[in-house]
Symmetry: C3
Subunit: 423 residues, 3 copies
């Protein structure tokens, strides 16, 4: 600046400016930095403290033809808040952080991520309620999924948050490794069982190519879990069951499902994904080998599930990749008065879940029926309209075919629509 030419030297100017700034910071007490990530992330000037409120809303409509002639279940035409969450995340001193989020959908209260994390070592230590390390789609936030619901094997094989402790390494651009031990009982049953059972989980991901708009992702994960022990109430079932909803839609009924049979099970899964500019292919294959309780039958069926999907942004965006998962899409031309048309993405998926293995042998024990232990094959096509980085509308048109079991031959066809926002 040429201030000094007009009666104030450059040194005077700099001195004045720095003193004004310092006093403003001190007197104002505004020890604060702000980054807008939907809601503001507040942090102290030295970065030792951080705080952000989180949340999301999913407003859904499902219209489903449930093939009543075969399944006996009427058609569905219904709305719901699929997710309605509020939460917080922050850092309370340098390397100690937390995240805590609750879902109030259906006028309930369901604790989602609720953990403490220490990040002062090369690997992170996490303690609390969080997702065991299995499956690409499961590890991804539902905010960023390509379709409205995850692939059928994820619910079927019981991939969901548990209370436990884990280590995860994600400081290399090209690979991540995570492992943890968890109680098998979910938070909602936290005081139900004398023994909560044990779940071991581990996941490795490799990204030989990890560039902007060019990603090759490979992954593998395993999980071994034992069911919880005796319930305090003498009533709650402690064995595992396996099931999925028709047409990959949340308000559909379930047309393939096993009874409560599993005493322990072993899951393994493989993941692959390629991003090539606006185009992306993604797939997973998984098996879950179940040790049926000996009081039911001496068999160990193996269930499997897999999907493959492809998606394309008509408007040029790409799927961002980091730490072994895909994240928030950056919209090139957000929608607003005077703005652009947002991002448009089209996508298709084929999703298979097979729960039919050894159905006859399970039923032969005479303790349970395995009448719905069948297979479901689902086609999905979808269109996603991202208004901005935090808002999107989704349309899915899906059809499941059921093979085997009491619903054999049923065709379940549905449409799902969602308005989604997060902050």
């Amino acid at each position: 600046p040429a201030v000094q030419a007009q009666g104030l030297t450059e040194a005077q100017y700099q001195r004045l400016k720095s003193e004004v700034k310092k006093e403003l910071a001190e007197e104002g007490g505004t020890d604060l930095k702000v980054k807008w990530k939907g809601a503001p992330e507040l942090s102290s000037s030295d970065g030792k403290f951080k705080f952000k409120v989180r949340g999301r809303l999913n407003v859904d409509y499902n219209g489903i033809d449930q093939d009543e002639a075969i399944t006996g279940d009427p058609d569905v035409s219904a709305v719901e808040l699929r997710r309605a969450r509020i939460g917080v995340e922050g850092v309370v001193f340098s390397d100690v952080g937390y995240k805590f989020e609750i879902d109030f959908a259906g006028d309930g209260a369901s604790v989602k991520d609720a953990y403490i994390e220490y990040s002062g070592l090369p690997f992170d230590i996490t303690v609390g309620n969080f997702k065991p390390y299995n499956s690409l789609e499961e590890m991804m936030s539902a905010n960023y999924l390509t379709f409205m619901e995850r692939a059928a094997f994820i619910e079927a094989f019981g991939l969901d948050r548990l209370i436990g402790a884990g280590l995860s390494y994600d400081q290399n651009k090209h690979w991540t490794l995570s492992a943890g031990v968890f109680a098998t009982t979910p938070e909602s049953d936290q005081v139900t069982f004398y023994e909560d059972g044990t779940t071991f989980s581990s996941r490795l991901t490799v990204a030989p190519i990890n560039e902007e708009r060019r990603v090759v992702h490979l992954g593998a994960s395993v999980r071994q879990r034992d069911a919880a022990g005796e319930p305090r109430d003498g009533v709650t079932e402690n064995l595992f069951r396996y099931r999925a909803r028709g047409a990959d839609l949340h308000l559909a009924d379930r047309f393939i499902e096993t009874p409560y049979i599993g005493e322990s099970d072993t899951f393994w899964g493989l993941e692959g994904a390629v991003v090539w500019g606006s185009f992306s292919i993604q797939g997973e294959y998984s098996q879950n080998k179940v040790d049926v309780a000996s009081s039911i039958a001496n068999v160990s069926p193996t269930y499997d599930g897999w999907y493959i999907d492809a998606s394309y942004f008509l408007t040029g965006e790409t799927r961002p990749y980091k730490d072994g998962v895909f994240g928030r899409v950056k919209v090139n031309n957000p929608v607003f008065d005077g703005g652009g048309w947002g991002a448009w993405q089209i996508a298709g998926r084929y999703d298979v879940l097979d729960l039919s293995d050894q159905a006859a042998a399970i039923a032969a024990g005479g303790v349970v029926s395995c009448a719905a232990c069948g297979e479901q094959k689902t086609w999905l096509v979808g269109v996603n309209w991202y208004l901005n980085d935090y808002t999107r509308l989704m349309l899915n048109v899906n059809q499941s075919e059921i093979a085997g079991g009491i619903n054999d031959g049923a065709e379940v066809t549905g449409v799902g629509m969602r308005a989604q926002i997060d902050w």
Copy 2:
């Protein structure tokens, strides 16, 4: 400023100031504006992002003589948290906003407003859980009601939040128009029914006079709704019932009520209000014509409800009016150590609800009794003490007379007290 008289030119001064500001903003990272509305509303400098935490507490006492000799119900002397809410609202990019609030009263979790709103057009588009467009008192926030509870017809005719989509125009000072379509099933029953039913709703308001301290408000609204279809559990009732609490108090029992009878119904209501300085009169009249399920009786009773109230601020305040509803009272002299006496308001209301139409014909079907299908007339007087814009104490003294039905002749008299805060 007269800075230049002291050795620094005006140009120097402006340059210095703008550089200090720029550097402060860059270094500090404080892309932030703040408005205090109870809690702080944070926004980015360009206004494209906003965020505010919301909430409220209502701490109530009810003491009620329930005329046990006639009604069989003992007197009430009880406290409750009538409302205990936390929520958030914000804008995630320019024209896309959201609001989400949950009520935890009674150790439950009840989703209140939970919607996404697009405001980049002349009219707003709203999707999610919010209030259909009916009735002045229903559309107003409970924070600003003159009495502790809304008029009896509002609960009786089922005016409450539903999941749906709506359009609303409120950019003209003198009128608003809104219309929406909703599922009939509330959020708490979101997965209960195969078919959620349909509700149409629309409201028009006109304010020929809309000045500070001078308002004439006229309004009309209609609603047509069909009950939900078959419940998934085979148990939950899907027909409508109509009922109200004694003495317009929340902890009173209900002395007039119909059984579950309505398959569909049509509501219409008229509104009027005048503000003349600190004085205000307000009233509404409504009818709800019910199509009773043919399995019960082939009748279509018409129920009606209305109220008229008057209120006056002893301390000079007025009722602010905007967008077809009344809002937050600005207190002239808030209460604090060294401050004023707050705002004092006195009010009276007469509130009538008549559910007696065709009671005999309904019961004659032999399927249900209509034993409590009567009429309730309630007198209320109230005093409100506003400590500041966000805090008030309320006292209501109410008396209902019941006519018709099994509680015919009962006089239910009660006192309600509330401490209210919101942020």
Copy 3:
């Protein structure tokens, strides 16, 4: 500053600086001060508005040998979110503040502190859901307790939050006095009873020595309460019962407990604590005299409970004392990458609860059994590792001996571990 030596006088400098600051504050709209207390406390420049988000997570493991041979209850090996809370606190104008916090542990929603407070007088007025004024450990935040669970008498004698109103004086460094009147029915039963019952409570504390690292605390409190009246559902029990968990661990079963017997009761308790640098001793003694419902037996047993504990910080910290309770420990050398080892505290406690008084007389009425009306004596040793002011890990090893009743002679031994964070 030596600015004036270079062409600008000191007066010019000050004037310039103050004008720049004033205009910056006005234009920037940042009417904001920030204090970091885990999460940021935001306040307006004039201090008339404040706002802070609160919350905490407790992730617990319990492993307990429940002496199944005697008690019949299997061993426990289970995890839980012991506390999972989000809340807010703030000031909406000068002297009117609020606090509201909800616990979501176990996927429930339980309202904790939820009150409005007026602080413009020498004493504070509080209205809402909050803790009646009894017992040092009960009045303290669980964030600051030396052991994972409070002493057994606190749950046994029903010391917990209620809805009511209270006055408290805490402006003298050396004493506090509080008194309140509450409904006896907790928030979760707020609409259950026609009459909510009444609880009176008062507490006096004296601190003849109250210096940094030197504290002598003495306290006494009383409580008189009547049970709620007739329940609306005709089912919920309105009498008091008294009970405690084995080994002072939250996931243990209860081995001493009375039936629902109390129609009213009177509690009194004495408190004492000494802090001498990093060393601290603390103890409480309490009695609860119960009027058994005359329909059960004409007796008035007196139950008592007491504990004494000692604790020591190996790393030099002390227990901060203020307003009659102990608060947040300031950690000298917090743990982070490049930081210190945190604070380490060792502690021991002996905790006794006797519910055996007049057990035979109660059972003699023939209405209820008093089979588990025994005594429990518990030894606890603990180690606490404070990573920073807001995070700690806890380890407790506890053993209870049961005397009297059906579990006579049982030894319940357990270990508890907790990861705790708050903000």
